[in-house]
């Protein structure tokens, strides 16, 4: 069966030679017949006439021969396409309007879907993200005001429900190249955090324990920054720069989708050590903007972990004087914490996109309707010339499909 398809393909591709061969063959047949008739006593002219009559219908035979190959439908669709293109060319106004309309609809939908896909639908770039939870303390009266009361190291030691607890905060990094000094938005992290999030460097390595202890000025670049600002040059790992009389070293590059801070418009460009903040090293009580991310130990239920965290905080509160301003412990799944920022906005965008698409479809419907009314005469002529309904319907479908394809391609280009 496959061999037959190959033969059919070859027949279709060499269609001109097919016709020429068949013509030559039939001419030969005709000549032989003429010879035979002459041999049986007819005059040359009579023989020729009879040979041609009995042969007759050359075109029909050619068509039927082509048809027996079962590839005639390809030819007719080819015709429809060419005709459709000519028609569109003649009615440029209509064609351009229709194509632009489709392009807008397709482009907008594609762009919105890409965004929704990238943010909402794709899973977070960590192993088992639903086992990750965010812990912090919040002042009920004004969530931004206070600093955490509990010592981070105390928390890490005391809480047993988690296989790891890490901390991060927003930060920035100065880097000076030969040409310029750049400021990179960064996330300051500790090693525990990288471990909790399952960080795998694309290049180089993560921070070492030594570096954390010494609060070394080491940097891991985000993948996007490595590509855009550092030209995806792998020799960047290990390179140094001197800023404010201090040597900074790049020790690694993160993997492409890795990201900790999801609430900024632009993803952070680098990672540094949070231990460089003196508070981390001393009493472990950083600014309220610090966040702790913890991974549940296997087999531990979230409620259990929540109870333990709240219990720890409550125990600490017990030891405080009564007029102390109490903070509330917060325990939330990392997924929720991350996306609550985006969700309403994305739903709005999706809604707007759907509306645009609806309008586009309505517009297009109107355009096509108007056009088909204008073409009644043409279709009438075709039918009277003998075109089958199916053939006309197919030809119109091909035209619309052509519009859709061109419009769709334009839309995708737009969206890019």
């Amino acid at each position: 069966m496959f061999a037959e398809w190959m033969r059919q393909a070859r027949a279709w591709l060499s269609s001109r030679r097919f016709d020429e061969d068949l013509d030559e063959e039939m001419q030969f047949h005709r000549d032989m017949r003429e010879q035979e008739l002459r041999g049986s006593g007819l005059s040359p002219q009579e023989a020729k006439r009879q040979a041609n009559i009995s042969f007759g219908r050359t075109l029909t035979i050619r068509e039927e021969s082509r048809e027996s190959w079962g590839i005639a439908w390809l030819d007719s669709i080819g015709q429809d396409l060419r005709y459709g293109l000519r028609q569109l060319n003649r009615n440029r106004g209509f064609a351009v309007t229709a194509i632009l309309t489709i392009a807008l609809g397709v482009g907008a939908s594609a762009a919105i879907f890409t965004l929704v896909n990238a943010v909402l639908l794709r899973p977070l770039p960590y192993p088992e993200p639903d086992r990750l939870f965010v812990l912090y303390e919040e002042l009920h009266v004004n969530p931004r005001l206070a600093t955490p009361d509990l010592d981070l190291h105390h928390i890490k030691n005391q809480l047993k429900s988690f296989s790891g607890i890490g901390a991060w905060a927003r930060s920035s990094v100065n880097w000076r190249t030969a040409e310029e000094a750049i400021l990179l938005q960064a996330s300051a992290v500790d090693r525990d955090l990288l471990q909790v999030l399952g960080f795998q460097p694309a290049l180089g390595r993560a921070f070492t324990l030594q570096e954390e202890r010494e609060a070394a000025n080491v940097i891991i670049l985000s993948h996007a920054t490595w590509v855009s600002r550092f030209g995806a040059d792998s020799s960047v790992v290990g390179s140094t720069s001197i800023v404010d009389n201090e040597v900074a070293t790049i020790v690694g590059v993160a993997s492409p989708r890795f990201r900790i801070d999801w609430r900024t418009a632009v993803a952070p460009e680098a990672y540094t050590l949070i231990s460089r903040n003196p508070a981390y090293r001393t009493n472990g009580q950083g600014h309220n903007s610090w966040r702790y991310i913890a991974r549940l130990r296997p087999g531990v239920a979230p409620e259990q972990a929540r109870a333990e965290w709240e219990g720890l905080q409550a125990a600490w509160v017990q030891d405080q004087p009564t007029d102390w301003l109490r903070q509330e412990p917060v325990f939330r799944p990392f997924v929720d914490e991350t996306f609550e920022y985006y969700r309403p906005k994305l739903w709005t965008m999706a809604g707007a996109g759907s509306l645009v698409f609806l309008i586009v479809c309505t517009n297009l419907g109107g355009l096509l309707l108007a056009r088909s009314v204008a073409r009644r005469k043409e279709i009438g002529v075709r039918t009277s010339l003998g075109a089958a309904r199916g053939r006309i319907a197919r030809q119109l479908s091909v035209e619309v499909a052509l519009l859709a394809l061109l419009g769709g391609a334009a839309g995708l280009l737009l969206c890019w």
């Binding site: 037959e4 030559e24 047949h29 042969f55 219908r57 035979i61 039927e64 027996s68």
Partner: protein
């Protein structure tokens, strides 16, 4: 002069049988069928060439250009092994059909 495609597929079988004796061009095939059938079966050119194309498509025949007896360029058709196999199946099948038709037309007993 009868058309040999009263039972569908007959023409293809006749062509295959004719070509099984050796490569032949289209005109030669038509002639051979006519002569061998004692002028009873005549193959219309309009059915011969589509049938030949069908057999080419199915892979039962292959075609090559060659020289005819009178030194003219002609397209010769040759049986393939697949065609030979098909012919071996078609002949007894057709014989069975023809015998059946014959029996209906000339019942042995009764009326």
């Amino acid at each position: 002069m009868g058309s040999p495609d009263l039972i569908p597929g007959t023409l293809e079988a006749l062509i295959l049988r004719t070509v099984s004796r050796g490569p032949m061009h289209g005109y030669g095939i038509a002639q051979a069928i006519r002569q061998t059938s004692g002028d009873v079966l005549s193959v219309e050119e309009g059915s011969l060439y589509p049938a030949l194309q069908r057999l080419l498509r199915k892979g039962d025949l292959v075609a090559e250009w060659g020289q005819s007896d009178n030194n003219r360029r002609a397209r010769f058709y040759r049986l393939t092994s697949a065609g030979r196999k098909r012919l071996k199946q078609e002949i007894p099948e057709l014989e069975r059909l023809v015998a059946a038709i014959f029996r209906v037309l000339n019942p042995a007993e009764g009326g």
